[in-house]
């Protein structure tokens, strides 16, 4: 009975999409940050489904994000590694998994996070985008050398 209930819930939560991207195995509780890091807002046209704390055989719990009719680019996908390095990406075409891939931590991220240093030139009206190199310790601002060591989502522009 319980299994049926779970399946029913899962069916509702993770309903198949015809075309688009399914981001699976997101660390539990990070789905909204994944959406944020992808720059998806209330004005985004594509249908979006989010499931959080879904039971997972391997992870215990996981989050899932499904984006209809949009295939994410490699640059977009790799941003996810900053907050959920175990996430997997499924590109769906006509209900079938066309491509399945993991996320790779990018070496450089541009225009994604704001430098917390108020004295940094990237926080002025100059025609540049913020740029951070991704280091083991965190994100390193290539302009002012500031290092963001935690809570990356709170710095997303």
């Amino acid at each position: 009975m319980k299994n049926n209930e779970t399946q029913e819930n899962e069916g509702l939560l993770v309903r198949r999409i015809k075309n688009g991207t399914v981001i699976d195995h997101i660390s539990p509780g990070e789905a909204l940050n994944v959406v944020k890091i992808l720059g998806i807002t209330g004005t985004t046209q594509e249908a979006l489904s989010i499931a959080t704390n879904v039971p997972s055989r391997n992870m215990g719990k996981k989050d899932i994000v499904k984006l209809n009719n949009r295939e994410l680019s490699k640059e977009e996908v790799d941003r996810i590694a900053l907050i959920s390095p175990k996430a997997t990406i499924n590109i769906i075409r006509n209900f079938k998994v066309f491509e399945k891939k993991g996320v790779e931590t990018p070496t450089l991220i541009e225009g994604l996070v704001r430098c917390p240093n108020p004295g940094c030139i990237s926080n002025t009206h100059e025609p540049i985008r913020s740029r951070f190199s991704v280091k083991e310790k965190g994100l390193h601002c290539i302009y002012c050398d500031w290092v963001i060591t935690g809570d990356i989502p709170s710095h997303i522009i």
Binding site: C120, I121, S122, K137, C144, V147
Partner: protein, 298 residues
């Protein structure tokens, strides 16, 4: 095209080679026409005496000329022009640009928009590579840099000369001793980076503990505006003041450096002591900056 933006962009071999070059220049082994016909744009968006004059002196001694705007108020930045546009324009007028700017990362930005080499002459609380090179040069005149014990004293949070020098010294296995007012410690990110590079950093609370231990005292100015009132400023400033009495416990070869201008940090009586090297340090700005200009403009 080579820019000189941050000391962290260079390895020890490059630094040593530039200091060797400065040494030869200091010994008059240079061509005074080496940069004849070349123009250096000197863009200073913050006040400066030594850095600006020594760059202008350096280009003149190599046969080149310099261009500059009188003050920020007199240039198009005051009209709201972006630094990026200013740099694009000025790089059409000169063969290299020296820039000082109040924002950290300004020189890096300038290098992205310039079609000629850019030298950072200080960006906010960030980097000041030409000062660091002349600091290293001055230390090397008195002792090998490798493995020295050096004390950084004063405003270590906002003092870019201290940041830049500490970064460079991590290449020389130096041991860092720090002494600063509460709230003006080294920025956490810099501290973490230095430790990551294997640098030993020892924080002190009393100047008398430091003096007998170190080979170099690097004193920086604590700015009055960092304190809520004059009384607390004078209280702190006087506790760090270097005097002949304090130096009585110093190693014989200890040298005292200061990027200048000094206000109250060093007793004028110290000027006459063999430890005092800050005026030589200032003079060394010319040969070191001549070597830098030749590096990027030749």
């Amino acid at each position: 095209m080579r820019h000189i933006i941050s000391i962290g962009d260079f390895d020890r071999e490059w630094i040593d080679s530039l200091l060797d070059h400065a040494d030869r220049i200091d010994g008059k082994q240079f061509d005074s026409h080496a940069l004849e016909g070349k123009i250096l744009a000197v863009l200073f968006f913050e006040p400066s005496t030594r850095t600006r004059l020594s760059f202008e002196s350096a280009i003149a001694r190599l046969g080149g000329t310099s261009l500059s705007v009188g003050s920020v108020e007199a240039c198009s930045i005051a009209k709201g022009e972006t630094l990026a546009d200013t740099i694009r324009v000025v790089s059409g007028y000169a063969d290299a640009i020296v820039i000082r700017h109040p924002k950290e990362g300004a020189a890096r930005l300038a290098s992205e928009f310039s079609t000629v080499p850019v030298i950072n002459a200080g960006d906010g609380a960030g980097q000041h590579p030409s000062q660091t090179l002349l600091d290293l040069y001055t230390i090397r005149q008195s002792m090998p840099i490798d493995g020295i014990d050096i004390a950084l004293i004063g405003d270590l949070r906002y003092g870019r000369t201290a940041h830049s020098l500490a970064s460079a010294l991590s290449l020389y296995n130096a041991r860092l001793h720090t002494l600063c007012p509460r709230g003006l410690e080294l920025p956490e990110t810099l501290y973490a980076r230095l430790e990551e590079q294997g640098m030993e950093i020892i924080a002190h609370e009393n100047i008398t503990d430091i003096i007998p231990e170190v080979d170099v005292l690097y004193v920086t100015r604590v700015q009055r505006e960092r304190f809520p009132d004059s009384a607390s400023y004078f209280n702190v400033a006087s506790s760090y003041r270097i005097t002949p009495e304090l130096l009585a416990d110093a190693k014989k070869h200890l040298i005292v450096l200061h990027p200048l201008p000094r206000v109250d940090e060093i007793d004028p009586r110290v000027d006459e002591m063999p430890h005092a090297k800050y005026f030589e340090q200032s003079r060394n700005g010319v040969p070191v900056r001549m070597a830098m200009l030749m590096q990027v403009m030749q």
